[in-house]
Amino acid sequence: MPADDASDAVPDVDALVDVVRRRVEERRAAGDYPDGLEARLDAHFERVAARRPEPYDAGRLRARLGAVDESLAFDAARITAESGVPGGAALHRAVAKAVSRQTSGVLEQVSEFARAVREALYELAKAVEHPFGHRHPDLLGAVDEALDRLAGMERSLAAGETVDRSSEAARFAARQRAGRPGRDEWLRQLAARFTGGPVADLASNDGALLSVLRASGVDAFGVEPEGALAEATRAAAPGAEVHVADPVVWLRGTAAGSLGGISALAYVATLDAGSLGHLLRGAARALRPGGVLVLEAPNPASLDALLVDVPLDPLATRAVHPAYLSALAAAAGFAGVELMWSVTSAATAAAVPAGALPEPLLDALVAPREYALVAIR
């Protein structure tokens, strides 16, 4: 519980609202609260409410059924005999009289059909209106039960945020990345971004980055959910501390402002949108001011990354666009967000004759396979 305003005097609780009002005015004057904050929030709630689908107004259906009722009075007398031709009206009346029996017969059949249609429409209307009008507790209970189940699932997700990460799958993914030309240099570039420790290397996997970090003199340790991989990390980075824990959950339990840096290789591609948000917010909380966050990921602008790296990584669910990751980092409170790119595929570029491919396709072929978000807390 924060306690920065504690005082020993017995407070005048009855006057508290006045005190609070004055404090709000002072903070508004100091610019702590933006002008129009409450009005903007209210307006946003109205916008959210306006987006929801409007329930169907059963009155419209009843109005149309009323129109059916009004037109049901079939009668030969309603058939006009008027005519613009001299003597035409008399002719119409004479013909009508001559065929009156047939006309009545037709009208009776039409009336019978119309009554049957009307009854069917009313039955349909009842069936349609029923879900709106039926307010039996069982129905409410069923809705409530469904909502409760959803709430339970949401709670589980919020509490868990874990990635199903088998050690075999993670080893396989790491093997695909290891040994690529330029890979070691890329890891050294990432490690060079850290200015002070301790640095937590999340989902440290086979220890590829952690070993480079420590070799560069950075005070770094690993966080790896799989026990077998934690051992692999320790083997790659002898002497390094490695926590066996889900990185997102581990971050939530880390003291605020206790880290100098956070790194993760290819980890963001394994997270769903909600967990990605938790990761960035947790990182923002755990890093001290000036702390550095480095998140490496497959580059969605690279065909190699999209067609090879992501599909070959059993844990990856998607390539996260750097613009989206940057926006998430900014929203989580990071300043100085920038992007780094691994080397372009010079060999591929050289192998393609000039002008043989449209420029956008060539760009996708030679684009860096990885990028890294670098953000300062």
Binding site: S7, L16, V17, V24, L37, H44, D144, L147, A331
Partner: protein, 359 residues
């Protein structure tokens, strides 16, 4: 004399149902006969305690019999039964949620609420005594020309209902939610409870004052269109809010134990039992001064005038959370208030009232 008790719907944990049982026990102490409770809709968990409406309609009352009707919602079938009976009628009025708050979210349900008020008002001429837990409710009854209106607060037995749970919350429990401070609201998420104002308050509090603040909204979701809108709103704001849905009494007890501040922004409350529950658990209360909340909370809560917005609400919560002296004073006042509303005290008041009514 046989005293029968009737309500529209009986369910465990429901305040009206609990009141019906308390009133039945108080009446039994007077007559020496345990009267039955009847309802049209009965939760299966209460099948042994509550008889169906048909069992009431099949009994012809004697001249000195009494029907105690607990009115909290409209229902034409039940009201027709009440209107047709000849036994002396006592109405226990628990208030009806305002239809205007629901019109936008459920145009079918809103008219039922309006009809419910009209149905209760129509009982005025038949009713000999009306009992209600607050002056706020009594005002409704008098405006409908009920003649003899008596205010007897609801019996809230916190220890019996919520006191059993102890120890650490189980995994996944909303009571284990991070939050410093943890703000708690208990009640159904309905439009007149104004949960969207609490979401705004939590957003403002976390953004401008206490970044680790977290709000738990604990209560059943009865109105999907409204709840999904409030959830979408909270999501858009990235407000630190957990929606628990319906939770059992043990979980409510754990939440009260974990909470740092109880908050409610409700526009309309006929009594608001959660305010007293929070006070009994030593949780300071910050509420909007609407409905019966001022009567129930007395001087033991920070009451935000209805015209103030979520910024003042958030600043008040921040003050209560941060200032130990303010917090301690509110907790102490709350405990005194909870003692004044202790179940044995209120049971005696209810028993006295029933003794007068049935004399």
């Amino acid at each position: 004399m046989t005293v029968r008790h009737l309500l529209v719907a009986a369910a465990p944990g429901d305040a009206t149902t609990a009141s019906a049982f308390e009133t039945r026990d108080a009446a039994a102490a007077v007559t020496g006969e345990r009267g039955e409770v009847y309802a049209r809709f009965i939760d299966p968990a209460l099948a042994d305690d509550v008889l169906p409406l048909e069992a009431l309609t099949s009994t012809a009352p004697l001249a000195d019999d009494v029907l105690v009707f607990h009115a909290s919602i409209g229902d034409p079938v039940v009201y027709d039964v009440v209107a047709a009976r000849t036994d002396r009628l006592v109405v226990v009025y628990h208030n009806v949620s305002p239809a205007s708050a629901f019109a936008r979210w459920d145009p079918t349900f809103a008219p039922l609420l309006a009809e419910g008020r009209a149905q209760i008002a129509a009982l005025a001429s038949r009713c000999t005594v009306a009992i209600t837990p607050s002056e706020f409710n009594a005002h409704d009854l008098r405006s409908w020309n009920f003649r003899d209106v008596r205010v007897v607060p609801l019996v809230i037995d916190v220890a019996r209902r919520l006191g059993a749970a102890g120890g650490d919350p189980p995994e996944g429990s909303p009571a284990s939610a991070a939050g410093d401070p943890l703000l708690l609201f208990v009640g159904q998420l309905q439009p007149h409870k104004r949960p969207e104002l609490l979401v705004e308050m939590a957003h403002i509090l976390a953004t401008y004052s206490l970044p680790d603040a977290h709000l738990v909204l604990a209560g059943a979701h009865r109105l999907p269109a409204f709840v999904s809108t409030v959830k979408a709103f909270a999501h858009d704001l990235r407000a630190p809010v957990t929606f628990t849905g319906a939770v059992d009494d043990a979980e409510i007890g754990r939440l009260y134990r974990r909470a740092d501040v109880f908050v409610t922004a409700s526009d309309h409350e006929g009594f608001c039992a959660p305010v007293l529950e929070a006070m009994a658990f030593g949780v300071p209360v910050v509420a909007r001064a609407c409905g019966a909340i001022r009567e129930v909370a007395g001087d033991a809560a920070v009451l935000i005038p209805a015209g103030e917005g979520p910024v003042v609400f958030a600043e008040a919560v921040a003050t209560v959370a941060r200032d130990h002296a303010v917090r301690a004073e509110l907790v102490e006042r709350g405990r005194r208030r909870a003692v004044a509303f202790a179940p044995d005290v209120l049971r005696r008041r209810l028993a006295d009232a029933m003794a007068e009514v049935l004399a």
